[in-house]
């Protein structure tokens, strides 16, 4: 997995609460192979039913081209567990998400794909989105080692992150390989379980 250290990139604001993963990638695209899903990102919010792009939708605006950071509102990416909601964003260049809160499953899925989800207080996220709206195309810097987000106006916010997740991201750790290193512990657990709960 690609390591995540620091990222300075154009950030795009999404001013909607409770954006669900069905909006990020509608279900009808999920049966396709990943390399055919890229254009499905926010498909139905980005396009009219006849396929014409909605010029006003933030992700269609040329000022935000090349954005790699998305600043969202409360409960971003709630709903379905579809990991495609992360991978379709990754395949469109995104590596970091900032929101007051995330859907729990999406939050976990991010770490599986070298993506950093950052929780900041709602007032700070509101301020970041306002700054990005005021100067479209402005950049944000994320420094994972220092656990800071630096906004377009230079304001720096610290964020919390689980030390295990941080370490895995910084080193690009593959979780399966890591866990396979605990084979003895897993085998011991299974042996004990066979005695304590043989009906399982």
């Amino acid at each position: 997995m690609e390591a995540f250290t620091t990222l300075t990139a154009v950030a795009v604001p999404i001013d909607l609460a409770n954006v669900d993963t069905d909006q990020i990638i509608p279900a009808r695209f999920l049966g396709r192979p990943r390399d055919q899903q890229r254009g499905a990102m926010f498909h139905d919010l980005r396009h009219a039913p006849d396929g014409t792009p909605h010029a006003g939708f933030v992700l269609n605006r040329p000022e935000y081209a090349g954005a790699r950071i998305l600043v969202a509102d409360r409960n971003f990416a709630c709903g379905s567990s579809r990991e495609n909601a992360v991978t379709v964003m990754v395949d469109n260049g995104f590596r970091a998400f900032i929101a007051p809160s995330f859907g729990d499953i999406f939050f976990s899925n991010c770490f599986q794909n070298g993506v950093l989800p950052i929780r900041l207080p709602a007032a700070r996220v509101d301020a970041l989105r306002a700054a990005l709206r005021a100067s479209p195309g402005a950049t944000i810097t994320v420094d994972l080692a220092a656990q800071t987000v630096t906004g377009p106006d230079g304001t720096r916010d610290g964020f919390d992150i689980d030390p295990f997740r941080k370490d895995c991201l910084l080193r690009g750790v593959d979780e399966i390989s890591l866990t396979l290193g605990y084979e003895n512990e897993i085998a011991r657990f299974e042996a004990r379980r066979r005695i304590e709960a043989p009906w399982l």
Partner: protein, 470 residues
């Protein structure tokens, strides 16, 4: 004396394989459900040359992409979908995982099949690459949805890295009135705490209204926990649970049953155990519910009116309500009972079990559907049971379509979708924009309420219909 512990605490700590000391635990997984959306997990395993570590702890059944018109591969029109259904057959064969395929009467929605078989048991950890895995908490399991990378991780290691969530208890006391079902309770809960109300928590549902529910009702409540933002919901096991499980094909039997039962009886939350958050709801005040908007938190009483954004608590909520109302084609102040529906869907992992079909059939009996209506049983065994009870004849006589098991119109992945602009009364779990097809307007409600909508052509208070008789 030991510190009082919650049901959740007890299950969590019994499954810790490695404690890193930094809040992260390697947690053992007792049960892994697989479906036709699990192909990516198998592909990842194959790339690395790994096998499923414990195929004996997994169970697979196609549910998302299969046709509900006919139970065979040829009925799946889209070749990519057909490939995914074939893939679950080939992958489970290669890895030695038990499969209920299309030709097996036990095939159905994974979250219906596993409890029905007795594979879902108290005290187990259970995961599946599907957010509605929360369902299984109804028997006192710790069950939650995961993404495809974690599916591969569980296949390879039978474990998951997890940080312990916080604990929330939602207590519903009192006896709900007639016509009020588990679906109404959970819609009322979500409306109360909000779609993000449970984020970062595991919810234990407690109180006399929950204790009074059958296991099927508890499955409905736990199923929609994810719609309140929490990954897992659970109900402590009790005699209702044990009676439900006893004799099921994959439940323990004989001496093993007695031993399991003794262990299960130690699981319920101890008196005095501390929760990070407590919520109490008076169940006697809950009435049949229906959603008006595009978030499951947008639920109102059937005798209510479409809310007015002008009365929203803040600007963000006001804007969100306007977007929802425009999408839903509704005018503030309209009585929800005046709103006509175009279609009805009875099914999904929320409401496709035998009790759901009985409740719907009771309303339908002797009446006629005014709009196209589908019944999609949750499993082949639910279907068989319903047919033995003559429920299929009730539905068919009223003009309903009686279909084959699967997720169907809840998520529309198999092509079972509505047309743009159609208003669907649906017993499923999500009313998100485009969930049942692009431009489709989804209203969530109980099976009895869906049946009432079908036979009247609009949202109707099932309590009034019941009192009028057929």
């Amino acid at each position: 004396m030991d510190t009082p512990r919650t049901l959740f605490d007890k299950i969590w700590h019994a499954h810790v394989v490695v404690d890193r000391g930094d809040g992260h635990h390697l947690l053992y997984v007792d049960r892994h459900l697989l479906h036709d959306g699990s192909a990516a997990g198998f592909a990842r395993l194959r790339e690395r040359g790994l096998k499923v570590r414990r195929p004996d702890l997994a169970l697979a059944t196609p549910d998302h992409y299969n046709s509900t018109a006919r139970r065979d591969l040829d009925a799946i029109a889209d070749p990519q979908h057909r490939r995914l259904v074939e893939a679950i057959r080939n992958n489970t064969r290669d890895h030695g995982v038990r499969l209920f395929y299309l030709d097996d009467a036990r095939q159905g929605i994974a979250h219906v099949v596993s409890p029905e078989q007795g594979l879902t048991q108290p005290g187990v950890t259970l995961v599946c690459g599907d957010s509605h895995t929360a369902t299984h908490g109804a028997v006192g399991a710790l069950a939650f949805g995961i993404g495809s990378s974690e599916v591969a991780h569980v296949m390879a290691t039978q474990c998951l890295w997890q940080r312990k969530p916080k604990a929330m208890r939602i207590t519903l006391d009192g006896t709900p009135g007639p016509g009020v079902t588990a679906k109404d309770l959970v819609l009322a809960i979500i409306a109360h705490i909000g779609a993000a109300g449970g984020v970062g928590h595991v919810i234990e549902y407690a109180g006399s209204a929950i204790r009074g529910l059958s296991v099927e009702g508890r499955l409905t409540v736990c199923n929609m926990t994810i719609e309140a933002g929490a990954r897992a919901g659970m109900v402590a096991p009790d005699d209702t649970t044990y009676a439900y499980l006893h004799g099921r094909p994959l439940a323990p039997e004989g001496a093993a049953w007695e031993r399991a039962l003794a262990a299960w009886r130690t699981l319920p939350t101890d008196d005095g155990a501390r929760f990070d958050r407590e919520v109490s709801i008076d169940a006697t005040r809950i009435v049949p519910m229906v959603t008006w908007g595009t978030s499951p938190e947008d639920a109102i009483a059937i005798d209510g009116r479409v809310p007015d954004p002008a009365e929203a608590r803040d600007a963000a909520k006001r804007d969100a309500m306007r977007v929802s109302l425009e999408y839903m084609g509704l005018t503030p102040g309209t009585r929800i009972e005046e709103v006509p529906v175009d279609r009805v869907f009875i099914g999904s992992c929320t409401n496709s079990r035998i009790e759901d079909l009985r409740a719907a059939a009771d309303v339908v009996r002797g009446r006629t559907a005014r709009v196209p209506a589908w019944v999609v049983p949750g499993s082949g065994l639910v279907k068989r049971q319903a047919e033995a009870e003559g429920l299929d004849r009730v539905f068919r006589a009223a003009g309903f379509e009686w279909r084959e098991p699967g997720c169907s119109m809840c998520v529309g992945m198999n092509g079972d979708t509505g047309a743009p602009g159609q208003r669907i009364a649906s017993t499923s779990n999500r009313n998100f924009m485009g969930r049942q097809g692009r431009g489709v307007r989804t209203h969530l409600l109980s099976p009895a309420m869906a049946a009432a909508a079908a036979v009247t052509g609009r949202f109707t208070d099932v309590r009034r219909l019941a009192s009028q008789g057929a």
